[in-house]
């Protein structure tokens, strides 16, 4: 499947911004089953400087500085991604989850170390007994890792309501857990908190999800959104993606932009501005399948 994605972010400021330093994490990663052929950023006003760098987690960052007075900043990422269907091997018989939890800390191999670091608390995700208790209803004693993971994903989907008004980008996971409401970012954080509370390794994935128009209606341009889900480590298999918001296992409808310990590592666009006052933010994503 080949997608063309346009992700347009518009900031409008009440007062002129004189200088803005920004970093964008908007170029899709390339993975074995997931190739990002073309990807470019268009920025208005034209940045005075612009550099690219691959971060600690392997994500593609773009740093730019706008240093002329402006009241509007537009960052448009245009990418083309080719995804192979179901490229991750699926084993019905995975290790019991306790074995997974036990094996990760002792694994000094590069892959093992790489995974281990996602087992710890991170700035936005605390490890807590309440998360462990919730997770244990899926992670029953001796249950295969994959089975437990699918069950937890389904439970979060069932127990939590999608509600874009209930939370914001800074809402702590504890509050999401209490309110039982939130958006994809919240559910991903919650599932990661559950897994890490059981000493399992899980990371946050930011990307896009293909949406389908209602039957008989045309596809609406710009109606898509950026999305987030979870990836958990299983020795011998690797990373298993889970989308708790939709209770699906991501396949060729999910485009991966970046991953990190939590949202803070991969927020699509962040920046510091001088001046500006209050601002409004508009995000429009358009994900168009151009070839099956």
């Amino acid at each position: 499947m080949i997608y063309r994605i346009v992700h347009r972010t518009t900031y409008k400021y009440k007062y002129p911004v004189s200088v803005g330093n920004h970093v964008a994490c908007l170029k899709p990663r390339s993975l074995p089953h997931h190739q990002s052929a073309r990807s470019e950023l268009r920025i208005q006003p034209r940045p005075a400087t612009r550099t690219e760098r691959v971060d600690f987690f392997g994500n593609r960052l773009c740093f730019f500085t706008v240093q002329e007075p402006h009241r509007e900043l537009v960052v448009e990422a245009r990418s083309e991604v080719t995804i192979d269907e179901n490229s991750t091997p699926w084993l019905q018989q995975t290790l019991a989850w306790e074995e997974v939890a036990k094996s990760i800390p002792g694994d000094d191999s590069p892959a093992g170390l790489e995974a281990y670091q996602f087992g710890f608390e991170s700035p936005r995700i605390r490890v807590q007994p309440q998360f462990a208790d919730y997770a244990r209803q899926s992670f029953l004693s001796g249950r295969p890792m994959l089975e437990a993971l699918l069950d937890l994903t389904a439970r979060i989907h069932k127990d939590f309501r999608f509600d874009s008004k209930a939370t914001n980008v800074r809402t702590p996971t504890e509050e999401v857990f209490k309110k039982r409401r939130g958006v994809c970012q919240d559910f991903a954080h919650l599932q990661i908190a559950c897994l890490r509370s059981l000493n399992l390794a899980a990371r946050y994935v930011s990307g896009y999800l293909r949406t389908y128009p209602p039957p008989g209606r045309p596809r609406l341009v710009g109606a898509d959104v950026s999305h987030a889900w979870v990836s958990a480590y299983c020795p011998g298999i690797g990373w298993l993606d889970m989308d708790p918001t939709n209770n699906v296992v991501p396949s060729d409808g999910h485009v991966t932009l970046a991953w990190g310990r939590d949202y803070g590592d991969v927020s699509p666009l962040r920046g510091l501005i001088l001046g500006g006052g209050a601002h409004t933010l508009k995000v429009a994503v358009d994900m168009e399948p151009i070839e099956a």
Partner: protein, 832 residues
């Protein structure tokens, strides 16, 4: 300095006494000092001590305490009696701390580099990944060989058997070396003979080496080095400014720096100046809100990227806070053998990291003898003394440890040694901790001879600077020749005369510019209020309309009056609006808020203002906190007092400030603000006034403090054109528009690298203003037809004032882009 060391009283009886082995006879290296003190005698010592204390206050040596609700700067408390360390003992301490610095430096290099220690099992991965001080964006960044640590502070304590132990390692932004220096200056002044005859190793060579080491971090000749401070509210701000001055570096806060094109620059009025080396006193995770902690207000956005690009060196390197955790201590002996091929010379206080299962078991079995702390201090848990946990809660505590063992360390409690302190005429014993400093010179490591001794407040209490303890000097009594190099200029050497300070940071110019604007804004506001308030209650319908027009000149966005289109406000509503504009500090355009801003901005630049000015500003801030029962008609008298203070302030501004760049920006701010509100007020006159509205003229003259000028010329007849002449065209009236514009052009021209187009815009505006011949203007007189050909000139004038009203804020924005934020300016001109 957040070390929390505790000592229980029962143990202090067994503590090592630095002064004496048997409690009676001084140890040999203390004999000379004891004799000298005896000779000087308590009375004379007391006198000298008072002199020293006065000097501390005069020098403004302070230590801010976070928990101090008054935000007061506390005086630095120092003790007159130094801690004495004999040469041989110092040699072994020095060897131990230098080795430790080498080891920790290598550890950092590996953990931020190839991570062989992890893959080969020499260092537990959990201690890296679980540590919030591990800054991932810095992994793999090339740092010149062995320069992760520029300076390391190591806290030492001596146990009852005489052995020195390491209590803590400080690599984040180690503080205290400046206080050590200041302590030395003071104590050697109080005890000059003793100091001279004791052959004490000097501190200055260490600081000279520090300056060289920082200079060498950059490849450039004459690099610019800045000391990055969190600012005046940090507890060790005094030290930051002291060290910056002593070493000749620029003191900068995050907002003084900017990253452009992956390079760090200091923002100054003269332009952007490249920064090569940053000596940081800001914790590393706060140094870059773009890539590290996004909530930090202390950092420089883009700093990490500049470090990654190799364009700036930061000391200590970003990320070095990693090795501060006590959890690494159990691994140091093994790492020393592995990395250095040597045994660890100086032991750490016994420490167990609970992430190792045998350590956890040991801790749980011996809870009573240890203190449990978070492995990663940023998690904010207070130390727990095992012995103090009630029996019933021990099980629960053990559960807590078992659930996330890697988050905890346990340490043995150390009985600190005691040293004599001078206390109201006699010597008492207090527990001490010695903070030592090791410096990376690039070709090796050297230690500050001695260091900063921190003293427990009372017998058996906590030793911690953040809780307001005090300190003493440490003398290493050397047995060889001494380097007496001094960084301070001898008193008899002439100073180089210098008229102009080297750099004016943009932040200072920015603040004084707004100080000028707000002080002027407050004055205008107070005058308008004072003109309106006494008139409201007596005002008949036409005059009320005038007052509403005068209020309209303020263009208040927060007005509580009904919209003019709907209906005319009643006098009661206007009265309430006046009260709100005067006293409502929550309203951004109120006088109360404006005065609070004057104070806030003044406080930002308090080091640049005289004490008198700060005093006035403080009084102004308190001004609008009115007694609850103050009557409306009492307001004018209060406003008059307030205006007196504001006049006193502008008087000081004129008479007491050097005509440097700071003054230029403050005055430009004032003129600009005055020009902006004058333009608005004048526009009220250019819209033809009906006769009943002419009382507005009187108010306007009063607001501009120009009633006398007017009366001297025109007696009592109020005529719009004559008022226009006084307030707009009279170039001799310091409150006329002509005066503001011509001064703005002159002042602006004096600024370095001013924008020619902006200068031209101001001059064009002035020329346009002067092109109006008021004598030729036909002002519709009462009774004449309101709209006629005669008012052509008048509408041209109104047009001009509208253009000017648009120009002035853009001109101000350009000024701030050019000098404060260093952004591109936009093309402006009058009439566009």
């Amino acid at each position: 300095m957040t070390l929390h060391l505790h000592e229980s009283p029962s143990q202090s009886a067994d503590a090592y006494d630095e002064l004496s082995a048997d409690g009676v006879t001084p140890r040999p290296h203390w004999a000379h000092l004891m004799e000298s003190l005896q000779e000087i005698g308590p009375e004379e010592l007391g006198r000298r001590w008072n002199r020293a204390e006065r000097r501390i206050r005069e020098n403004g040596i302070t230590y801010n305490v976070y928990s101090d609700t008054l935000g007061a700067h506390r005086d630095w408390k120092i003790d007159i009696v130094p801690l004495l360390i004999p040469a041989d003992e110092w040699r072994s301490i020095e060897a131990g701390i230098v080795q430790r610095a080498q080891l920790l430096s290598l550890l950092l290099e590996d953990l931020y580099g190839p991570q062989h220690l992890l893959t080969h099992g020499h260092f537990p991965a959990a201690l890296l990944y679980g540590n919030p001080a591990f800054l991932r964006p810095l992994v793999g960044v090339s740092v010149p060989a062995h320069s992760y640590l520029h300076m390391l502070a190591i806290d030492l304590a001596r146990s009852p058997d005489g052995q020195w132990w390491v209590l803590a390692d400080r690599a984040q932004a180690p503080s205290g070396s400046g206080y050590a220096l200041e302590n030395r200056t003071i104590v050697s002044d109080v005890l000059p003979d003793l100091f001279r005859t004791s052959n004490v190793l000097r501190l200055a060579p260490f600081f000279r080496a520090q300056r060289e080491a920082l200079t060498n971090l950059s490849k450039r000749d004459n690099p610019r080095i800045v000391l990055l401070t969190p600012g005046p509210y940090n507890e060790t701000y005094f030290e930051h400014s002291y060290i910056a001055r002593y070493l000749g570096f620029t003191l900068a806060q995050g907002a003084d720096l900017t990253v452009r094109n992956r390079r760090v620059y200091l923002k100054t009025v003269d332009g952007l100046e490249k920064v090569d080396v940053i000596l940081r006193r800001v914790d590393d995770s706060f140094c870059d809100p773009l890539e590290l902690r996004g909530d930090s207000l202390l950092g420089v956005p883009g700093l990490v990227d500049s470090v990654v690009a190799g364009n700036v060196k930061v000391a200590n390197a970003l990320g070095s806070g990693l090795i501060e955790t006590a959890a690494i201590m159990p691994f140091l002996p093994g790492l020393s053998t592995h990395l250095l091929g040597e045994k660890l010379k100086l032991p750490s206080v016994a420490t167990w990291w609970c992430g190792q299962s045998y350590a956890l078991d040991w801790v749980l079995n011996n809870l009573d003898s240890v203190v449990v702390k978070p492995a990663f201090p940023s998690r904010g848990m207070e130390p727990v003394f095992g012995a103090e946990i009630p029996q019933a809660e021990k099980g629960k505590f053990a559960e807590q440890l078992r659930a996330r063992p890697q988050e905890y360390v346990a340490q043995e409690q150390v009985a600190l040694s005691t040293a004599p302190v001078w206390d109201q005429g006699c010597l008492n014993s207090r527990s001490v901790v010695l903070r030592t400093y090791v410096l990376n010179t690039g070709s090796g490591w050297i230690a500050i001879p001695g260091g900063l001794v921190r003293v427990a407040e009372a017998e058996g209490s906590v030793v911690s600077m953040q809780r307001g303890g005090h300190s003493k000097d440490a003398w290493v009594l050397w047995d060889g020749p001494i380097d007496t190099f001094s960084m301070l200029r001898p008193r008899n050497e002439p100073v180089e005369l210098r008229r102009v300070p080297r750099v004016v940071p943009s932040s200072v110019a920015d603040n004084v510019f707004w100080l000028g604007r707000y002080a002027e804004r407050a004055q205008n506001l107070a005058r308008i209020l004072r003109a309106m308030i006494p008139r409201i209650r007596l005002a008949e319908e036409p005059e009320l309309a005038c007052l509403i027009r005068l209020h309209g000149c303020l263009e208040s966005r927060y007005s509580k009056l009904p919209k003019a289109k709907r209906r005319r406000p009643t006098s009661l509503e206007l009265e309430q609006e006046m009260t709100s504009m005067f006293t409502d500090a929550k309203r951004p355009d109120s006088l109360a808020h404006t005065l609070a801003e004057v104070y806030r901005i003044g406080d930002n630049v308090r080091e640049r203002l005289s004490a008198d000015m700060m005093f006035l500003i403080g009084q102004l801030r308190d001004f609008v906190q009115l007694e609850p029962k103050t009557q409306f008609l009492e307001y004018p008298a209060i406003l008059t007092d307030c205006l007196e203070l504001l006049s006193a302030f502008s008087g000081l501004e004129r008479e007491n400030i050097n005509r440097g760049l700071g003054w230029l920006f403050m005055t430009i701010g004032r003129r600009l603000e005055r020009a902006i509100y004058l333009t608005r007020q004048l526009r009220e006159i250019t819209t033809p006034l009906a006769e009943q509205d002419w009382s507005l003229l009187e108010c306007l003259l009063e607001v501009a403090d120009s009633s006398m000028t007017y009366r001297a010329r025109y007696y009592t007849t109020l005529q719009p054109l004559a008022v226009l002449d006084v307030l707009m065209a009279d170039e001799t009236n310091p409150r006329s528009l002509d005066f503001q514009l011509s001064h703005l052009a002159d002042l602006y021209q004096k600024l370095p690298r001013h924008v020619r187009d902006d200068l031209k815009a101001m001059r064009d505006a002035l020329a346009l203003l002067r092109s109006f011949d008021l004598r030729e203007l036909k002002y519709p007189l009462p009774g004449a037809a309101m709209a006629g050909n005669g008012s052509d000139g008048l509408s041209r004038l109104e047009h001009f004032l509208r253009d000017l009203e648009r120009l002035l804020p853009s001109w101000s924005n350009n000024l701030s882009s050019r000098y404060f934020s260093h952004a591109r300016t936009l093309p402006i001109s009058i009439g566009q």
